[in-house]
Symmetry: C2
Amino acid sequence: MSDKGIMVAKSKTEKFTQEESRLADIAKALSHPARIKILKILAEMNVCMCGEIVELLPLAQATVSQHLKELKRVRLIQGEIEGPKTCYCINTDSIIEAYKQLQNYFEAINKECKRTCKTNKK
Amino acid sequence: MSDKGIMVAKSKTEKFTQEESRLADIAKALSHPARIKILKILAEMNVCMCGEIVELLPLAQATVSQHLKELKRVRLIQGEIEGPKTCYCINTDSIIEAYKQLQNYFEAINKECKRTCKTNKK
DNA sequence: TTTCTTTATCGTATAATTACGATGAGCGAT
DNA sequence: ATCGCTCATCGTAATTATACGATAAAGAAA
């Protein structure tokens, strides 16, 4: 309930609340099947080298690296360099936080719908 | 559990499972703060004219109409013409279905993480 | 040091998204 | 039929996303 209604004026994120922008940002990170799959892979493998992920996806290494970067941007994953390789893993805290945001959003919508849609049947 | 692992060969949606593509598609629909806000507005108002939504958003009518179209595309909302106006409302069934998809996805990830991340702390 | 491996980044091409003014289609009212 | 209102669509511009080959950086192995 922290920032309901507070407007932020960040250059591009303009006239929406922080909550709205954060939710949209999480959704954006999940808006490509490759990134959906990467998160699933990382959850299953716990820790995974970039190269392994590349092998599991129908995309070039450079492209996968870009997708990983996008997931890192919103903190859903983290990577640390281990010698020449990079080990990626899920950022559990952020995943949980993102999930909570989504849950709050959908629960609020469902509750509102139940409250208002008493007679709305055509 | 319907289509795990089944590949679809739709021209663009290419080499990902239907589940992955559907999830990404839902996320894409939610990947803009304006659309996040529109759903919230519709949940609160139950039914809403396009013009009302336009007034509540910092965007031009044409732009809002585009966002509404995107939400319609993934069935999260529906609109019906009433005279010169168009009444929009949430498609409750689809919202619930989308929410379930997201829940399944996140729950699976969290479960896998718990299973595999026994020693992974640094 | 040189070579190999791994991965991030650069450059670039193409496509999709976002935004808005202008136009048009449809309906109600005059 | 004409006018006014509402909204979708068109045309267009600017930005962002997606994809990949090529290159660079950096540790490992020789």
